[in-house]
Symmetry: C2
Subunit: 714 residues, 2 copies
């Protein structure tokens, strides 16, 4: 079978014959104009440009609207590429079986009443999945609005809106849930061109990841848009996203479930697990997926990316006919950390020539409203602005519908955009629209709705450009997903031994089993002062139970400390669980305390979290995250993107820290976890002392949680 | 003279006869339909409902459109309340003089070509101001679009848009600059009702503060909206804002100039000094002014406040016909820190009764699209939701234009809103509009444009309610504005002496002038360990020049430290500038280091800044600010609103700090500066040690910058 049959986790079926089939069978075809089957038939025949074979199935009809109709899929002479099921819920399974039997490649199931209604429905869905697995036929749905291929003008949908959704273009949309997807589709009325919309409903088989992967290869799609309530299969999602990244196609995404309310609502809506919002955001960011918060933001960013490809170094020009508006827009550009271009002398000369003395010819340009009644002036000044060699994007905030003035401005905008490649982005700020607004939409300029929206979209556009410039094509996430089913924790001393073997510096320590051994250890390892700590896998908060002594300065101190720590330990756990008392030299100041943790995320696999200890993490949540494996480059990036990076760089007269050694330790830690991915659930070094340049790092405390075999047998 | 003549800084002229004059003279009246004078005449006669006397002045006409016309203002038999000047720039001054001479109360000057064109224009404006001062006639403009009184249907404007700006209502708008003002006005097309728009152009006399003050008293205005590029007179602005606050009228504001770009652009546009954005934001917040960033946000917040008055305890319901949309909206409600209402049992019962089993009847409500084709169901479910006793606001996100479905929903929304007081806020998310959208607008529901916008508006609405509940009607800001013209800094020792006299604890210290005196001081004050510091008003960074020794443990230590510190001091300044070396006992741990600074802001007067030392301030800018005078309540609030507050409250096993003593110290510091407001430019305590509960606070270091007399003579 050419399509389908490949359900291995990281491979993807070619969906070309789903998106653009050569032959279709509509099961449940009807002549009733208001029925699902009737509307679908109308969409296929009247409002699509489908030239392939269309078969109709309806047990009660021999022809519909003059087209032949058979009673069953089994009556077809050849297997169509695609079956569309517009049938009652209780006949879906049989119909799917018939389709699979004759070799149909894809089936779209509109019918609802399955997983979304409860346990019984989910059982039926499991049987659909079995049919897909056993026959190789891929299933789209059930409970879905169909698939809209605007670029081929093929509506595999029952929606009456299909006939008016007529603005093809380079954006592909893959959604979970139809409402938000259709909300995006209606941005066509803002001039946004959309080529394909896939919304696989309950996703019993094909899911968002499959469509992202397809769109990454589709030559007519340049930008991919998705809305997600939960990522069902992290590794497949990451694989699809990386495929798009390698093909140079940006993905813009909304992921519901950042708050408890959202996670709960998403779960009750699609039964998808929302996952941790912080992890999700970090993973999206690492994969170059542009995460946004709302549908209008999705539209803004996608429309911008459909017009231009960012480099990450963009500088803006602001052009307006209102001084206050120009000032507000410039202000928001600055607040967002974006850059206004410094105009070249020839730009300023051209603006001066065209404008009266009281207009502002510097960036921001305020041509004043009086001037815009002359379309030659608006053309000349816009052309000069958009042709400025230092300007990469022109923002044109328009505060008001202003009759003929805004019509002429719209015409100039469209004309100039036809002559320059620098994107010109009008911002129609007013609730009053009119002919000027329409002119910009018809001219393909996709006006945005507010300055703030525009600045945010441009910021994300530029950030994506920066990510793209840095993207490592060869990198693959580890993807060792699954629940953390921790068998046991490893004691500090044994964890440190593993770290040392992995190449990460730890203090030279000895586990003493008696007071005398502690005294001996003090002689052997302490260089003046020692620290002593209880060693037991059963005790995680050593300080809380009196299991830590600092500043041990003599052998007798060491003996006394052993007795005290051991006694406290015996109160906290069974004596048999105590491995002894660790004696280590105290690390001399100065050093900065970092925290490095790796944990197994059930959706995406192992994630490394980095931050500096103390209030930065606790109060300000100043951490960065990366999927494993880390590379020297990504490790350095994750250190640099915390706000506390400044402290490592030598803050206020302190010596600069050994960042090279920190990078090295992070990579070695990552390598260690990669080697033992199936066992390691969590590994934390807290603190990891980062010493002055040239003096390296030292893991002062560490704990490992693992599943399966004892680490000694790894 | 009844109106005008009062130019003292904190009093305000009654503007009733400007906003609704009983008689008007239009100078420069014209029959040419496209001239300023012609359009104004048309607006006054054809598109206004003005019943007072209207006089026309034009030296070349004896009548216009059948109305008598005189050659000069001086030919009028009585002084009209208002003169409108639609005359050439070179005749404005003479006309204003004539108006003042006959006793006109107010003059609106449309004419441009003054301050905005440069130095010469600013000189003419100074003469306008002289006329206002000498005659008592108040001037509005020049270079302004006029004044629109929608509630009285009186257009004192030449704008051709006046005839279509026809949605009166409870919002009053006072703007600097016309473009952003008109952008707001056009929100009428979203259903927002606006009663009055004042935009005083170059503001030679009347300015935004005057209109805010007027609107605070105006019975037809409930919400005040303003856009500002700079606050010209801080005390008048604060007085107007407090007047509005006492009258219970919220002010929603945009202030341009948060970034360097914006400050620069605003300055070149209106020549207003933008001021510090952080200070501005803090002052607005303290005065209850709701600061927003963009025009759409201004519209969202103002429209919400025009519909309801918040208590600060609002809980939301989310009602949608799309599960994904309901989930996204709930998510954003949660992310913003807002609360979803827990429905009462009767609400859930009513929803269950009306809806099929697969609909979600919990909050968020997802009625599903199928259901909404039945308007009885949409009415019943909306009514149940909006009547829920725990719900204070219903958000209805509508992802798509959906033909008859959204029309029926719109009708149900309007009907239910007519029956309940709980505000129902539709969110029309789609770029496609239609009859449903129109139904909501016509029904007064002012649909918002995105979920994010709505959540942000509701958050600000609730926060304002919280501020309002806490507002201290009696409080008045000190308002000792002016440039900081520092004469000198005071040394640490002398600053501490002032603090001690003001009731703020300082360490018991002695200024030693020799090594022997240092040894004696060690005996007298050090309780085991001492700290020694150079004392000189010329040295601000003592540590940097080797002017500080910690942990002095003996008299001989103290002697040696004196010699070293003194020698280092002599390298950093003239020996005559050294007052000696301060010897103080070292404060025993534990304590938390706070930073308290008061500085004179040129616009608003003295401001107190509070934060905790270290990375919280330096990297995370975690500070709070208040105008002086502080009260015990406001001091406690400013401490509590820092994120570091948690540390003072006893973080991770540390003892809770003496917050009562900290509050007391802040208030005493404020009282001290209030007593010496004309002298104190800046006073900083850094660090202020906050010790465990019951042990008080201690100012460990402090410096004062003053102007005028020596503090010893205060």
């Amino acid at each position: 079978m050419s399509a389908g049959n490949d359900h291995s986790p990281l491979s993807f079926t070619d969906l070309s014959r789903l998106v653009l089939p050569q032959s279709i069978v509509l099961v449940g075809a009807s002549e009733k104009p208001d029925s699902i089957g009737g509307r679908t038939l109308e969409n296929l025949t009247k409002y699509s440009e489908f030239t392939g074979a269309l078969h109709l199935v309806n047990p009660g009809r021999t022809e519909i609207h003059g087209r032949p109709c058979v009673a069953s899929v089994l009556d077809l002479k050849e297997a169509p590429d695609l079956a569309i099921l517009a049938v009652r819920a209780d006949t879906v399974l049989d119909t799917l079986r018939d389709c699979g039997k004759i070799g149909v490649k894809f089936a779209i199931v509109f019918t609802s009443g399955f997983g979304e209604t409860g346990e019984a429905g989910r059982a039926v869905e499991a049987r659909m999945r079995e049919i897909a697995h056993s026959t190789g036929m891929r299933i789209y749905g059930p409970n879905c609005p169909g698939l809209n291929n605007m670029n081929a003008r093929l509506g595999l949908t029952f929606s009456p809106a299909w006939r008016i959704d007529r603005r093809p273009g380079p954006i592909g949309v893959a959604t979970q849930g139809g409402g938000l997807g259709r909300s995006f589709i209606q941005s066509m009325d803002r001039g946004v061109g959309i080529g394909l919309w896939c919304s696989g409903g309950n996703e019993v088989d094909l899911e968002v990841s499959d469509f992202i992967h397809y769109m990454a290869d589709a030559p007519d799609i340049k930008v991919i848009v998705t809305t997600l309530e939960g990522v069902r299969n992290g590794p497949r999602f990451m694989a699809a996203a990386l495929h798009a990244a390698r093909r140079g196609k940006p993905i813009v995404a909304i992921k519901v479930g950042k708050s408890e309310y959202g996670a709960r609502a998403a779960q009750s809506h699609t039964a998808a697990i929302a996952g941790s919002a912080e992890i999700n955001t970090a993973v999206f960011r690492e994969l170059g997926i542009i995460e946004v918060d709302d549908i209008d933001e999705l539209i803004d960013v996608a429309s911008l990316l459909s017009r231009a490809t960012p480099t990450g170094r963009e500088q803006l020009a602001v052009y307006s006919f209102s001084g206050g508006t120009a000032a507000l827009a410039s202000d928001m550009v600055g607040t967002a950390g974006l850059k206004l271009a410094e105009f070249a002398p020839e730009t300023i000369a051209a603006l001066k020539k065209a404008l009266p003395g009281y207009a502002a010819v510097d960036n921001p340009v305020d041509v004043t409203a009086e001037v815009l009644v002359n379309s030659e002036v608006s053309y000349a000044t816009l052309k000069a602005t958009a042709s400025d060699p230092n300007t990469d994007l022109v923002m044109v905030p328009i505060p008001v519908e202003y009759g003929q003035t805004t019509v002429l401005l719209g015409e100039s905008l469209v004309k100039v955009q036809g002559e320059v490649t620098t994107p010109i982005v009008p911002v129609w700020m007013s609730d009053r629209t009119g002919e000027g607004h329409r002119t910009m939409i018809d001219g393909g300029l996709m006006p945005m709705r507010a300055i703030g929206n525009t600045v945010l979209a441009v910021k994300r556009f530029i950030e994506y450009g920066r990510w793209r410039a840095e993207f490592d094509q060869a990198w693959l996430p580890l993807g060792a997903v699954g629940e953390a089913k921790t068998t046991a924790n490893l004691s500090e001393a044994r964890t440190k031994a593993l770290l040392e073997a992995a190449g990460i510096p730890v203090p030279e320590g000895v586990v003493a089993r008696s007071a005398d051994e502690a005294a001996q250890a003090f002689r052997d390892v302490a260089n003046g002062k020692a620290v002593m700590k209880i060693v037991s896998p059963a005790i995680t908060h050593k300080t809380d139970i009196g299991g830590v002594c600092l500043g041990i300065a003599s052998e007798s101190n060491a003996k006394a400390a052993f007795e005290a720590i051991h006694a406290n330990g015996c109160k906290a756990c069974a004596p048999g669980e105590i491995e002894g008392v660790l004696v280590e030299p105290m690390l001399p100041s100065p050093f900065v305390e970092a925290v490095v943790g790796i944990h197994r995320d059930p959706v995406f696999g192992h994630i490394c979290t980095f931050g500096l200890g103390g209030v930065s993490i606790e109060l300000f949540k100043d951490v960065s995250r990366r999927l494993l494996p880390l590379t020297p480059k990504s490790a350095r990036q994750m250190i640099a993107e915390t706000r506390c990076y400044e402290l490592l760089n030598g803050h206020r007269g302190q010596p600069a820290c050994d960042i090279d050694a920190l990078v090295d330790a992070l990579v070695k830690l990552s390598d260690f976890v990669v080697r033992h991915a199936s066992q390691v659930d969590e590994l934390e070094i807290n603190p990891l002392a980062v010493r002055p340049q040239g003096q390296g790092v030292t893991a002062l405390d560490a704990v490992l949680s693992y599943q399966g075999m004892e680490p000694s047998q790894w």
